[in-house]
């Protein structure tokens, strides 16, 4: 089996930094012939994970990407790390559109999109270290 192609990025706290990671996902995914539409979903999930990390983390955000060129079923693996105060992922309520429409706070969709657009998502978080580990296979949901 061919070795995965790996890339590590450090995102600065600048406007649209999340797109740097999104664009890298797109380029890496193309190298392992990931279907374009699936790749667009992975890109959005990574953009969302990076947005959260940039907003709630402290300072730089690390993004590790790995493209696994399995001939039958290539897969992409992404880890987004920040060094903010951390959070309890089980305490994040799933957004409900009707409630959001009548609420002043309409945000809160990011984590839901990450979970629904990727096949496997594992979040580990403690003060100073939060990691969002995501996997998407071709032909995933």
């Amino acid at each position: 089996m061919a070795e995965p192609v790996r890339l590590r990025l450090v995102l600065p706290q600048v406007a649209r930094a999340e797109l740097i990671a999104g664009d890298a996902v797109e380029k890496l995914g193309r190298r392992i012939a990931f279907p374009r539409d699936t790749l667009a979903e992975v890109k959005l999930a990574v953009v969302e994970a990076c947005l959260n990390a940039l907003e709630y983390g402290a300072g730089e955000v690390e993004v590790e990407l790995a493209a696994h060129p399995n001939a039958a079923r290539p897969w992409l693996e992404v880890v987004v790390t920040d060094h903010g105060p951390g959070f309890d992922p089980s305490g994040v309520a799933r957004p409900v559109l009707e409630a959001k429409l009548h609420s002043k706070r309409k945000r809160g969709w990011g984590l839901e999109l990450v979970r629904r657009l990727m096949d496997d998502v594992t979040i580990t978080s403690r003060p100073g270290l939060t990691k969002v580990h995501m996997i998407r296979r071709t032909g995933g949901e």
């Binding site: 959005l44 953009v47 947005l51 009548h102 969709w109």
Partner: protein
Amino acid sequence: MDTFELTLAAQDGPTAVLEVAGYINNEGGEVIAREARKLLDTGSRNLLLDLHATRIINSIGISLLLEVLERTLEVKGTLAFCSLTPSIAKTFQIMGLAQYARIFPDRATALFELARTQ
């Protein structure tokens, strides 16, 4: 295409078409919300957002589109979208947006249906 642009592409009776290009984030979302508010305040009731040149909407942009939706529903209008990429269509499906907004494959179909169901 990541550079954001918003164009009022058509305005015919109660229907206004906004063509959106580029990344819809906080800045792009604010521009859309501002323009939508202006259109609704001056009598438009159907807002059609043509997203054929938009490839990505982040969750902050989404929350601003929900403000537009809320305001449109308040004036008993219709918010509609057309020409979505598959990933944006999936995002809207995850949110359950089709319960409150109308989604069309292209602009011609959208305008036809909006005129028909007025």
